[in-house]
Amino acid sequence: METITSIKPLLAVLVSLLITPMLVSSRAPNVREAWTFVAAVAKFLIVLSMLPTILKGTEIVYTVAEFLPGAAIKFRVDALGMLFALVSSSLWIITSAYSIGYMRGLKEHSQTRYFVFFAFALSATIGVAFSANLLTLYLFYEMLSLATYPLVTHHQDHEARSSGRKYLLYIVGTSIGFVLPAMLISYNLAGTLEFGKQGFLAGTGSKPLMAILLVLLIFGFAKAAIMPFHSWLPAAMVAPTPVSALLHAVAVVKVGVFSVVRVLTGVFGTDLLHSLNFGPFILLIASVTILVGSFIALSQNELKRLLAFSTIAQLSYVVLGVGLLSPKGMTGGMVHIAMHAFGKITLFFCAGAIAVATGKKHISQMVGIGRRMPVTMAAFFVASLSIIGMPPCGGFVSKWYLVLGSLEAHQMPILFVLLFSSLLNAAYFMPIVYRAFFCRPAEAMFENRVQEAPPFCVVPLVITAVISVILLFYPQPFISLATMVVQGITGT
Amino acid sequence: MTILGLIIVLSTGALLIYATVDFPAWADPASPASLHLSPHFIERTMEETSVPNIVTAVLADYRGYDTMYETTVIFSAGVACFILLRILLREEPGESLYRHVLTGVTIRVKEGAKIPPSADFERIDTLWAPHDLIIKTMCRLLIPFIQLFALYVIAHGHHSPGGGFQGGVILGASIILLAISHDLRTSVQRMREKVDALLSATGVFIYAGTGALCLLLGLNFLDYSALASVLHVDPVTARSHGILIVEIGVGIAVMATMIWIYSNVSSTGKYDEGL
């Protein structure tokens, strides 16, 4: 696994930071949006340019500042990092297009601040994706939580203020309270924080100490919204929809899950987890989150809160996959990052489009909306299929691998959890779609006139819906990346 | 609060007394303090600085750096008192006291009112200041001799106990005696505040200046033997002259600062009525 050093990872992180002066100084909103677009495309191209080298098996390394032997601010682009960076940078292009339509549609105030902090959040996400050790990951993790605070509290009203406070308390509190000590203890035990193929904590501490470190690190990354520390996600739905679309469906929560995956594979290593059989513990907390998240989602009336709880449940699929410690399971988990991203972002875009077009937020008010916004609701249907894991959409691929993985790991209860949760997904998505299209004319709340959201909103959600369908037939980049990661880990 | 104070005091006192067990006996010639550095000072001062008074030699030369900072302490205290108390903005004077010279009757004049300036009314500082010819004349006679003695103390710091500080304080005391016996206005009239402040600054400047001069002449800071080339004399006596210059600087600084602090504190910054 030879490594080449190149500045590309640093460029990928910095490109969205460099445009902030242009964003702030641009007078006309169009110029500002153009700059955001340019930055998004540039970031995607840089990430794409690194894809071939990664697919060949080489890794790109770049050190910014050597601070301690083994704890430097250093980037290392490997298959897992590339997979996540690819997903988030591609979706940023679509989201920036969408947010132009959304912000114009609702005539939001202080949009410059919105776009500047959006760019900050993205550069932090890519920074987490490419980080080579736990310190750099922690650095960008903190930067992300601070960059997203102004986005979550964009409306600056009382509700935004209290949810912002809860957001910060959970995320910055758990990261300083749990991750910082865990990082320092592991640094003192192992002398380094670099993510190794088989982790760097193997054989350095007693079992109870390892257990403590595992608990600290898993619950420390509260962005993964694992059960006890999840309630900031529904509260963050107060943010404008593009924020919750990209951040709370793709960037922020995936950073949390990505960090947990990094910790499980890079810090502990699957063999160590196997030997200390921590697997069942991880599976337990993941499945609890999945089931409880899905049950709560059933009872939600507000669309965005429903999507939030569904995200909490879906995230734990990734943790579940990695927790299975079987090759298929891990591949399924990692691929799910991508599949869920495209599916969930489409759902959030639909929620935003409905809000822009009709101003409705609650499902009970969306009876018969299919007549008025057929395209949006069709995309909604496709995306919900992908989330449930039904064949025509990409979600099926990751569910498939997860099921194979659980069989491979001989974990029957996990198989049951997977199937039952898919059932629950269907239970809370299908009624919405059914009532949107096939409701009795009497209850229809909308006349038949087709009145879609502005094109800037509808086009992106159609694109993402189409992509999630294509992903079933051509999941190549993500599958190959995931299998490469798993081969690297299990050495098969 | 008193119990807490008592506990603190008793505990520190116990600790300190407990520690005296290891002290050398009082005035024991073989105590570490008198075996380590002092013999060097006593035996070598005469040949290194040709100054008989070892204390002045150590004060101004061996540990001259300490003394420079000590003078800076006095100077900074003067500036601090000035900045804290001095009221520069001329708001209208409050009520003032006048005394009729012949009959000794004192008159209190409310704010704003004025007394036509005439010879037989003299302004006094406070109600109970006795109009006493004896004190005034005696002080007027004594002050020059006090100042003369002060100059002797400064100049003879080399040979007899004395030096910059003691002489400076006596000089300052003579002016303060004037302020007490007469009134602050006469002493301020003799020694303007501006002159006073500038003198205290120049005094310490002389001290630090000679040190800087030695620096410029190539040797380390405050190394008076560098003055040999300037004073055209051998390094040892150059040290002795260096000490003398420095003592004069200290004398000036201490005098000026004492007067400055006294006039600020006694008139609480208004400079019109002293004690």
Binding site: Q156, I176 | L16, A19, S31, R63, T72, V79, L88, V204
Partner: protein
């Protein structure tokens, strides 16, 4: 000229202080330029000295040409080279930033104020550079006296707070003097290195033990270590903003430097950590200091007083770090001196700007500040992040060393205290940022028209540029922590500590 740096860095400010005092009477406009020139030369020679120390090792400068035990000597090693550079740069930046607020608060006494300012900096630089125990006492008094003068110039409660500070400060200084006296009577010498040579066979003597305790209590009193901190909050809160942004970042850090100097050089770590089994109780005291500092800061409703309690907690960090007894803890303490000086300066400069513009620093006056003073609040956020300990800024890295030192030394209570204090800092600073970020919009809902923003009443440029330099410095020192530690602090700690 370069071998005269040790003398220059103290003499130039001293001489210029007298010139400023004279200029104050002759022509007021000259005072500021002389002060800036003096502190500029001092900063230049400090940095030059540090570079010289880096390649030549310990530099001895004999004052008055006499050999050390007889005369007074400077021992400039890596430790005080680093602290010198920080003190002089902080003082220089603060002078430039405070020019306008000084002229606004006491227009007719700027001359004496600058004199006291420069004398204060001379005292602090002298404390850091001197190698003689008694000389350190005299310089302590200069720094203290000028401090009382500067602090007392503030609002109506300032004189009372300054007088309380004077009482506690004088007790502290006299305790230190008494400690030196006890050392002198048993060793006969005043020179730090000389004492260190004589002490080893006196380790069992009770006088040395008492001297150590008395010196420590004196230094703790001067640095406001928790049980003895009563004077600090009022003294710094009611002081003029120029004085508080000079004294807050420097005096407590210099006193911690003195404590570390006492441990490392005078009483030698072998005595401090091994002969006396004191490090565990002292670390517990530090834990209490951190926790109480954090809690008291939570209770405050005005920004400046809250920050003073944060300083009390930071002092707990450094004392605890120094007394962990291992290399990581000591490195963390020394690094935290540098970081905390910069962080406190950044935050107090922000308060200075706010007071210069709004005349008030209670939470109610800070409403809507992000819109009115965006740049100042930007620097405040960076300062807050550094105090909380968020990675790119330097606060994180010193906390990193302190916590790893605590783990290695097995003092888990200290680690928990550090984390607790970071969490409380999160609440403290984001409460303030929330007030500044939100307040004006709360009455009407976010949507709706883009309402008229208040005019941007930003502080003048001369106050903003130093603030940006310090904020950038926080990040730069953070990134270059590796070099600072490996090149400077590594040699500052004697080999004895593992």
């Amino acid at each position: 000229m370069s071998q005269q740096y040790p003398a220059l860095l103290v003499i130039v400010p001293l001489l210029s202080a007298f010139m400023i005092s004279g200029a104050g009477w002759v022509n007021k406009r000259l005072c500021f330029p002389i002060a800036v020139a003096a502190l500029g030369v001092a900063a230049y020679s400090c940095i030059g000295l540090l570079l010289r120390v880096l390649d030549e090792g310990v530099i001895v400068y004999k004052l008055g040409g006499w050999d050390p035990p007889v005369g007074i000597a400077y021992y400039v090693d890596h430790l005080n080279g680093l602290v010198l550079a920080v003190v002089s740069v902080v003082a220089f930046l603060n002078l430039i930033a405070c020019k306008k607020s000084i002229e606004q608060e006491f227009p007719e006494k700027t001359g004496p104020f600058y004199t006291l300012y420069v004398l204060m900096v001379t005292g602090l630089l002298g404390i850091v550079v001197t190698g003689d125990a008694f000389n350190l006492y005299v310089l302590l008094e200069i720094a203290a006296l000028t401090g009382y003068g500067l602090l007392a110039m503030g609002e109506e409660r300032a004189p009372l707070a300054a007088l309380n500070y004077l009482y506690m400060g004088t007790i502290g200084a006299c305790f230190y003097l008494l400690g030196v006296g006890y050392l002198y009577i048993v060793t006969g010498s005043l020179n730090m290195v000389d004492i260190a040579h004589i002490l080893p066979d006196l380790y069992q003597s009770k006088a040395v033990l008492a001297a150590f305790i008395i010196c420590m209590v004196g230094v703790w009193l001067k640095m406001a270590f928790f049980p003895l901190h009563a004077w600090l909050p009022n003294a710094y809160t009611y002081a003029p903003s120029a004085a508080s942004s000079l004294i807050a970042p420097l005096v407590t850090k210099v006193m911690i430097y003195v404590m570390i100097r006492l441990i490392l050089t005078v009483f030698t770590p072998e005595f401090a950590f091994n002969v006396l089994a004191v490090s565990k109780p002292i670390v517990w005291l530090a834990v209490i200091a951190i926790v109480m500092g954090a809690i008291l800061a939570l209770a405050e409703r005005n920004l400046k007083k809250m920050l003073t309690y944060v300083i009390v907690a930071e002092v707990g960090y450094m004392v605890g770090g120094a007394w962990l007894g291992n290399r990581a803890g000591m490195t963390g303490a020394i690094l935290h001196i540098v970081n905390d000086a910069l962080m406190t300066l950044c935050v107090f400069l922000v308060v200075g700007n706010i007071v210069y513009k709004l005349k008030g620093y209670a939470f109610e006056d800070l409403k809507g500040l992000v819109r009115k003073m965006p740049f100042t609040m930007g620097a405040f956020v960076i300062g807050a992040l550094s105090i909380i300990g968020v990675p790119p800024t330097c606060g994180f890295f010193s906390k990193w060393y302190l916590i790893s030192g605590a783990i290695q030394a097995g003092q888990y209570a200290f680690m928990v205290a550090l984390l607790f204090s970071s969490l409380v800092n999160v609440v403290l600073f984001f409460r303030v940022i929330e007030i500044c970020y939100y307040e004006p919009f709360s009455e009407d809902h976010g949507h709706g028209h883009d309402h008229h923003p208040e005019p941007m009443a930003e502080a003048p440029l001369t106050m903003l540029v130093p603030l940006f330099i310090v904020a950038a410095g926080l990040v730069l020192v953070g990134i270059y922590t590796g070099d600072i530690v490996n090149k400077i602090i590594e040699f500052a700690i004697p080999k004895g500590i593992v």
